[in-house]
Symmetry: C2
Subunit: 400 residues, 2 copies
Amino acid sequence: MLTISQRGCDMPASPIRKLVPYAEGAKRKGTKVYHLNIGQPDIETPPAILAAVKNIDFPVLEYSHSAGNESYRRKLVEYYKRWTIDVTHEQILVTTAGSEAILFAFFACMNPGDEVIIPEPFYANYNGFACTAGVNVVPILSTIETGFALPSIEAFEKVITPKTKAIILCNPNNPTGYLYSNEEVKDLARICRQHNLYLISDEAYREFCYDTTKPYLSPLQIEGLEENVILVDTVSKRYSSCGARVGALVTKNKAVYDTAMKFAQARLSPPGLGQILGEAAVDLPDDYFNEPKAEYKSRRDLLVERLNDMKGVFCPNPGGAFYAIAKLPIDDGDKFCQWLLEEFTHEGQTVMLAPASGFYSSPELGKNEVRFAYVINKESLAKAMDCLEIALKQYPGRTT
Amino acid sequence: MLTISQRGCDMPASPIRKLVPYAEGAKRKGTKVYHLNIGQPDIETPPAILAAVKNIDFPVLEYSHSAGNESYRRKLVEYYKRWTIDVTHEQILVTTAGSEAILFAFFACMNPGDEVIIPEPFYANYNGFACTAGVNVVPILSTIETGFALPSIEAFEKVITPKTKAIILCNPNNPTGYLYSNEEVKDLARICRQHNLYLISDEAYREFCYDTTKPYLSPLQIEGLEENVILVDTVSKRYSSCGARVGALVTKNKAVYDTAMKFAQARLSPPGLGQILGEAAVDLPDDYFNEPKAEYKSRRDLLVERLNDMKGVFCPNPGGAFYAIAKLPIDDGDKFCQWLLEEFTHEGQTVMLAPASGFYSSPELGKNEVRFAYVINKESLAKAMDCLEIALKQYPGRTT
C-alpha cells in the first residue's frame, strides 16, 4: 500500500487557517466578516518598492546567488547598521521569507530528537518547522497575568537537557505582542552562553515597538554571544510585503552559516523579484516607519481599551508587533470563534479571531484566550469590537 | 560546545558550484570563460510575462493561498490539458520552484531511513533534498553506452526493499538529456504499481524534446497510476525564468496532496510576484516554444557533432532538455575541469564544464565524463568547442 510518512501524519494543520471554511460560509450568507485572525497587514506596500519591481529591466530572470544577490546583502549590511547590528554581507543569507530561515536554522543545528525551548504561547508554525526537522518543541509557560513576560531563568533551566540545542525568542512577540526588555534578552543570552545553546532570534516585527520605556535589543548586539545567535528576519511585515517571500538568516557563526549555505545551494536561490523589492526597501527614507507605526499604535490603544472595557475581559497592553491576546469570559476559544462565524451576526457583521489554543503546545492551555491581529483600520476595528461586545453577551458558553 | 547537526555535516555542497572560485580566478586574470557548467539559459525571458510583473496594480503585496493563487492554479489546469494531463486546480500545489515540490514529496511520503531509487547519473540536488529529509538514495546505473537509457526492470527489482518508497524519473533528463520512450515510462509505471511505489516525475524540461520519433509521455497520463504519481514541475527552464522560483507539485493522490498542503501551510505561501509571471506564461501563444526549441536543437546538433569529431570523445545524441554528457580521453573530470580554469587558455579564452562525477552517487563512476549545458549561443558554443578541442590535446592527464 502507498503510505504517508509518519512526519506527514504528525505535521500539524495550520490552526489559524482551520476556521476558514466557516468564514467562507458566513460570507456566502452575506455576512460581513472583520478579519482579526491573521497577520496580513492592510498597510499599503510602499509604492517606491513596488515601483522597483515595475521598473525591472533585464532580458533574463536568472538565478541569483544562493545566498541572495550580493548587492542586496550589501544593502542589508547598511540596514542592520542602523540598528547597531554589525554584520558583513557574508554573514547574511537571503532566504525564502522567515520560514525558510527558521528551517535552515533547525536543519543546520539540530538532529532529529533534539530539543528546542520556546516560551508559549508561540507562533504556531514553529511546530510545523520542528516537525519537518524532527525536532521536539519543549514549551515553557509565559502567562497572561504577567503580560506574557519571559518565564524565569529557573523555568528554562528546569527543562534543559543534553538534547537541548536552542531557544527561540520572537521579539516583539507573535502571538502575544509582548516586547521583551533588555534585561530579559540579556538573561536569555546568559542561559544560552552557559548551556551552549543557540539563540534563534525571530525579529520579524523589530520596527514595531510602541513602548518607549523599553529600547529594542537584538541578541546580535550582545557582546560574547556572537557564536550563539541566529537572527531570522523577513520583509513580510516590515514593509507590508508578505507575498514577496524574502527573508534572511543572519549569523556570525561561520559553521552555522556555511552549513545553512549548503541547504541554500540545494534549492539554488531565493525569489529574484522579491529580492528587488527587498533591496529597494532598504532605501526607503528613515521616517518611512513613522506612519505605519503610529497607525498600529493607535489601533492597539483602541483595541486594548475596548477589550478591557468589556465585562470579564482582560487584555494586557502589548508593547510591539500587531497582536494581542485577551482572556474572555468563555468556555472554549475554539468553540467561540466558530460560533462567531456560524451562529452570530450583529447588523449583518461578525468578527473572525484566532483561538489562542493553537499557539500553546501544551493541551488545555489558553482555552479561554483568543488572539487579535490589529491589521484593519480603526473604523473597522471599532465595529469588530462592537460585534465582539454583543457576541460575548449572547454566547451560550459564557462563563461569568 | 555549540554543534552542527549530523544532517548539516552530511549535507553535500553543490558539485556544480564548487569550481566557481577557479572560474573567478580565471576571470581576474582576464580570461574569457564560456559557461557550459550550469543550466542557466540565456534565452530571453518572454517580454510578455515580464510585462505582467511590470503591470502589477495592487496596494498590498499579500500572502497568496498556501497552495498558490486560485487563478494561477486554474490557468495551470488549462496548461496541463494541452498535454492531455487532466487535473483539477485542487490537485495542483504551487511551490517555491521545483526544489520545494521535491522536498514536499519527500517529506510527505518518506520517513527517515526510507529509500528512493534514482537512475544515475542524476540531478545532484536530489542528494541534498534526500539528506534534508533523511532519505537514502539508492542509485541504479544507466550507462553512456546506451545513451543513458532506463536501466532494466531487473536492475530496479534487485534493489527494491521494504524500505523503498519511491522512484524518481527526470524526463527529459538532467544531466544526461536522455528522453525516455513511452515503453520505458510504462515499464517504470508497472514496477511502481506492482511494488506500491510513488513515482516522482520531474518534468522541468517537458517542452524541450527534439526526437520526433519519441512522443512525450507523462506518468500522470497513464491510467491506473493516478495514486502513484507525484509530478514536480517548474517555470524555471520552460520560460527562462529561473529567478522566479515558482513550481508545482501535482498529484491525484488526495492523501499526498493534503499532507504536502500541511507543509505548504507552515511556510504560508509561494512567491507572489513569481506567480504573476507564471500565470501570464500560460497565456503565451502556442507557438512560443518553437523558437527556443529550434535554437536548443541546433545547439545540440552543433555540440554533439563537434564533440564526436574530437578524437577519443564520445557523446550520445540526447533527445531533450539542454544537457549532454560526453566521455573524454582524460584521467579525471574533476581535475580536467579545474585545469581548464586554472592552467589553460586559448586565445584568452577557456570553457567551464561540470565534472560528471558529481551526478553519480556511486564513487568512481563517471570519472572520465563531463556534462555540458548548451545554454550559450552557437557562436560562443563553437568557440567553447575550439577551446575544448585544443585543451584535450594539451591536457597532461590525457589517457589515449
